[in-house]
């Protein structure tokens, strides 16, 4: 007992010392990093990743893809026009609070501070969108986040390209209409949306509702609470409703369970279509062969069959396909991470053309993003011909009107099974502008006048 008391006293001392020392050292690192002598020709890019926790299966491949492209640029080209990319990962377990902490920690690093941030989480995006204009760091939420932010007049600092949930929802309807032999045949059909019961999951509802009114199909909504490990009731309802089509808007374990449950009620997999965050390799793994035929949206191709992949394999992995596979090489989310990095580097390139080949500030990169014009030719130069459609960003439109593609699981791989489907801009864009206007009003934002921009 005496020992324990001694230990306890000792511990309290150690603890006090540790807290003080810890505090000081945290202070030291965070204050020092700003002034730390760093190579002056580095462009700093923070990487918010989640390789642990409940969403790690999605976070890992995405992070690996993003990382690999930056490494390739540095190793192969020595950076962008001589400006090396400095990047640092920050693990946040898909926890919004930790994500914001990561952002705060990294935003002032590098000679020019963080030049762009890709939160990889809708929750964190919502936190950062209002801060971006203050911190002067652009946010690129690629295919997630706040769809309304596609209106660049209200959200000058947020970019949603190449496409958004609302566009995707309208593209799904177009795809389904085509499968039914024409949009007019959708009348009288029933579509069920199984969605993650959160703002993310609710994103497509307005679009689908507007289209339901227009096209005459019935929309049934079935929310699934986080984390979504138990969906028996949901799928029983689907059995009862017997929908013609089911859209799956899930995330994490919810996807895996949904596919299992769909199989369990012998639901026709061909009639189940997942959002692009519900159709990666890890989502279909537990269901195995039962998931064959399942389709999902995307805005880029799956697989490792592009010239860029070859270069990565050779440059970074020395041609070792097995080692690359360990790093999710060619998986859907790997490719998505890759694409995100391609957009970033191209935006920096665009901005460098205006500001010179030096590390750029967030404001300068923002200009690069807003003036990004990624053409077919440029994509081919990058080794990505046909990987994703070209995209052009303007002051008003931060989404780029990106089309959506449908892929299908064959038990081994995801394969493209559709052409690029243009979203219904006539429906989606007005909704975006209305939502942005509401946001502007609530937050006392005066939309900028794009005709004044250069």
């Amino acid at each position: 007992m005496a020992f324990r008391n001694g230990l306890r006293r000792g511990m309290s001392g150690v603890l006090a010392a540790a807290v003080v020392a810890g505090g000081l050292s945290v202070a030291a690192t965070t204050t020092l990093t700003g002034t730390e002598a760093q190579a002056a020709d580095e462009q700093f890019i923070p990487l918010l990743v989640y390789r642990t926790g409940p969403y790690a299966p999605n976070g890992i491949p995405a992070a690996n893809g993003a990382l690999d492209y930056y490494s390739l640029i540095n190793e192969r080209d020595g950076g962008i026009n001589g400006v090396t990319l400095a990047f640092e990962e920050c693990e946040y377990r898909y926890d919004t609070k930790l994500g914001v902490e990561c952002y705060e920690r990294l935003k002032n690093q590098g000679p020019t501070g963080a030049s762009i941030v890709m939160p990889l989480s809708t929750g964190v995006t919502y936190q950062l969108n209002p801060r971006a204009p203050v911190d002067k760091i652009p946010v690129h939420s690629m295919g997630y986040g706040q769809t309304a932010a596609s209106d660049g007049r209200v959200f000058p600092w947020t970019f949603t390209f190449p496409t958004t949930y609302w566009s995707q929802a309208s593209a799904f309807i177009k795809f389904v209409g085509a499968q039914e032999g024409g949009m007019e045949n959708l009348a009288g059909k029933t579509i069920v949306l199984v969605y993650h019961n959160s703002p993310y999951g609710k994103e497509p509802i307005p679009t689908l509702q507007v289209l339901a009114e227009k096209l005459g199909y019935t929309l049934e909504l079935l929310p699934v609470d986080h984390p979504g490990q138990e969906q028996r009731a949901t799928w029983l309802q689907i059995r009862k409703i017997r929908p013609d089509w089911t859209f799956l808007w899930g995330w994490g374990v919810m996807n895996q369970v949904a596919l299992k449950e769909a199989a369990a009620i012998a639901y026709d997999m061909e009639r189940l279509i997942g959002v692009w965050w519900s159709s990666s390799e890890s989502d279909v793994v537990p269901a195995g062969d039962d998931a064959i035929g399942y389709r999902g949206g995307s805005f880029h191709s799956p697989g490792a069959g592009f010239p860029l992949h070859d270069e990565i394999l050779q440059t970074l992995y020395g041609g070792d396909a097995a080692a690359a596979a360990e790093k999710n090489f060619g998986e859907v989310l790997y490719n998505r991470g890759l694409l995100s990095s391609v957009y970033t580097t191209e935006a920096i390139r665009t901005a460098q053309a205006k500001y010179g080949n030096r590390p750029l500030t967030g404001a300068e990169v923002r200009w690069g993003l807003e003036n990004l014009d990624l053409t077919e030719e440029r994509l081919a130069e990058l080794g990505l011909a046909g990987f994703t459609p070209p995209v052009k960003i303007t002051c008003e439109d931060h989404e780029g009107n990106g089309p959506v593609i449908i892929q299908q699981w064959d038990g081994q791989n995801w394969n493209i099974v559709s052409d690029w489907i243009e979203p219904m801009q006539d429906v989606v864009r007005p909704m975006i502008e209305a939502a942005a206007a509401q946001y502007a009003e609530e937050n006392n934002i005066t939309p900028r006048d794009c005709s004044q921009e250069m």
Partner: protein, 351 residues
């Protein structure tokens, strides 16, 4: 000056070793530091990522500690009650933009108190872990409700609530433009005020009634303490503080939030804080909040400091393991929480 005297009193009770004069000086110095030095010295990262969440969690922990540590009612509904505060603050400030934002914070707590009292009703019959799980019903239901009913987030398509820019006495308090220093000071002052009130309350007949109910409710009834009213008051006061903390959580810290920001993890987190800090100790709530908010960040920053270059996922795993291990170690060394641990070490060091 009375505030100061009472902080000094609080200090005296815990570290009663030196003369009152020295303590007054000590507390004055701390208060001045907190008020003036910290905001000027700390950089934005410190304020935004560490100090502001710490102060807000300290307030929530104080609220839960009043209920669990003082009145003995184990609750896991903290996240839900915080959400009530946050959503009611959002509704009020968007409905009446001219309403003073500090008043909004203070009023939002009352909504949380009402809901807390409602969900406190079962406490008359249900005790201990059974009660804890029953309060989870509140947690899950409230989160579902705020997510389900678009009215709560003004039907906006994003389904989130965002802190609009609001001022107090001409100074921007909330919204993206509000300076971190200002938000820090608002949180600090509110916390100080509530600590001060709680301190007085705990030394009044109400505080005694709570502790009596906690220690032995049968005997409490026999000395004439009305059990239901006392427990419900505890739920009300506790939820009030949690509600205000919830409002601050969105308006001063996150800036915008969806319901997941208030999920059950928050409830557990705040419970950790008070157990690690010390049940039934106002100071313990603050120490616990400091420990639980700062420790993970400290661990995250440890590797770069020590110059160890670990993969981020490995570092996180180790961090999680150390965090879990430390909790067990602290409980073994001092089951009564860090407040007691610090008290012991101070007595030993005779500071």
């Amino acid at each position: 000056m009375t505030v100061l005297t009472y902080i000094t009193d609080l200090y005296n009770t815990f570290f009663a070793t030196r003369s009152r004069a020295i303590n007054t000086v000590f507390v004055t110095v701390i208060s001045l530091l907190a008020l003036f030095a910290v905001p000027t010295l700390a950089n934005e990262y410190w304020l935004q990522a560490i100090l502001i969440p710490f102060l807000i969690f300290a307030l929530a922990a104080l609220g839960l500690n009043l209920l669990t540590g003082f009145a003995g009612q184990l609750s896991l509904g903290t996240g839900g009650f915080m959400a009530v505060g946050a959503y009611s603050a959002f509704k009020m400030t968007t409905a009446w933009p001219e309403l003073d934002i500090i008043a909004v914070f203070l009023i939002s707590g009352f909504f949380a108190a009402g809901v807390g009292i409602l969900f406190g009703l079962p406490s008359l019959r249900i005790k201990g872990f059974y009660l804890a799980v029953a309060t989870l019903a509140a947690q899950f239901f409230l989160i579902w409700l705020f997510n389900r009913v678009p009215w709560f987030y003004n039907d906006n398509p994003s389904g989130t609530i965002t802190a609009p820019p609001r001022t107090f006495a001409g100074v921007m308090i909330t919204g993206p433009e509000a300076a971190a220093e200002v938000r820090y000071l608002v949180a600090l002052v509110l916390l100080a005020v509530f600590v001060f009130f709680s301190w007085n309350l705990m030394r009044s007949r109400f505080g005694r009634a709570w502790m009596a109910v906690r220690d032995m409710d049968v005997a409490a009834e026999i000395v004439g303490i009305p059990l239901l009213r006392t427990k419900l008051l505890a739920f009300g006061v506790s939820s009030y503080l949690c509600g205000v903390a919830g409002a601050l959580f969105v308006f001063l810290y996150l800036g915008s939030a969806e319901t997941i920001a208030f999920d059950v993890n928050i409830s557990f987190l705040v419970l950790f804080m008070i157990i690690v800090g010390g049940l039934g100790s106002i100071t313990g709530s603050i120490i616990g909040a400091a420990f639980i908010t700062i420790l993970p960040i400290f661990l995250t920053n440890l590797n770069p400091i020590l110059g160890i270059d670990l993969a981020v996922d490995l570092a996180k795993h180790i961090e999680v393991i150390i965090f879990g291990g430390l909790i067990i170690v602290i409980l073994i060394l001092e089951p009564h929480g860090m407040a007691r641990l610090i008290q012991v070490s101070r007595e030993r060091l005779r500071i």
